[in-house]
Symmetry: C2
Subunit: 233 residues, 2 copies
Amino acid sequence: MTKQERATRTRQALIRSAAVVFEQHGYAQARLTLISSGAGVSTGALHFHFENKAAVAEAVVAEASRGLRDMSAAIRRRTDTALQALVDTSHALVELLRGDPVSRAGFRLSCDGERAAAPDPRMEWHHRVRELLDEAAAAGTLADDIAREDAAAATVAVTAGFEVLGRHDTEWLSPYRLTGFWQLLLPRLAAAKTLPLLDPAGTGAVASARAPAPAVSAVGEAEETAALTAEPT
Amino acid sequence: MTKQERATRTRQALIRSAAVVFEQHGYAQARLTLISSGAGVSTGALHFHFENKAAVAEAVVAEASRGLRDMSAAIRRRTDTALQALVDTSHALVELLRGDPVSRAGFRLSCDGERAAAPDPRMEWHHRVRELLDEAAAAGTLADDIAREDAAAATVAVTAGFEVLGRHDTEWLSPYRLTGFWQLLLPRLAAAKTLPLLDPAGTGAVASARAPAPAVSAVGEAEETAALTAEPT
């Protein structure tokens, strides 16, 4: 492994550990020593990568946005219609919120008013939903009388609602909840000829867009020491 | 004013002040001295009414639930159909989230995982939405192929989403956002003969169900002193 690869792994381990700590303790109460020990590195290593807690949080938010963007692009390449891509992307997003602490913390940090970060995953999601609806309208697969911004806002609000309700009761993040929403909305949203082609439960594109699990959870001390002595030059 | 009336006013002022302080500082960081001074009373007066911070928060949550329940019942009495009552109640709820700190803090406390209170306003709302949909189904005003629990979950999730997104950007709590949602959903939800009778923007029942503004904001020191010396017997 090169020095660069080690540094990247350490940075990813710190982002993941920070996400877990932010989720457990909240941003205000999160301590940097907990974040570094959760990543299996020293606080010195943390400070090599991040100036302060705000910088770690910004990295978590940016990583959540990046994950959402990559996942959404991969799904669009694998689906026939923009509306199915919208359904599949929403299912993949809810799956991320269920299983990926970085996505969960990224969305929560961007909503709880604790800090305003540039690449907000909620705005990323809103933008993507609107893009897919515009694409569907251009392709004639959207029903004629749909106000696209209303449909985008409803989709964004429903997923935000599932996320916030899912903090207490994970049933809100079950696939069947979202499937129920699309069963309700798709007959209104889709053009008559397109509706029979759509699967409200999502297609295989959701599964194949799953990002491989990050290879990092804790970085060995030996590697970290090497990275620390080598990187700052 | 009787002693009982004074005590009630002080309690309401403390609940309102606590809601504002929880909103500004978060539950974990909220200090009791800020809550009592915001109500214009001493910390002794606060401790006469509430054992600790958790008890104040529970009172905020209970008050938000009560407000929602009373508002919803008043609206149902003034609307013809259960579906219009559902639309009107959702508009009144978003109006409460926009303008009433107690409702806002009650919903936020019940969702942020900081404490679990018995009379949760979110569960209250979910229950009420489901009741109105059941009533609509019984009256034949709901479309035949609607899964009521899906429709209830979508409505609850959308309003939860508007609330959480509205923390950063109050435009999400604008009436037109919710009107857009109902314009999208009602043609799917309502029986064909009922749809023309429904107003997605809400009817006059919303306005007439507005609770009068609480008469309390700060209680005069003289009254408070009287209450303090008189109540603990």
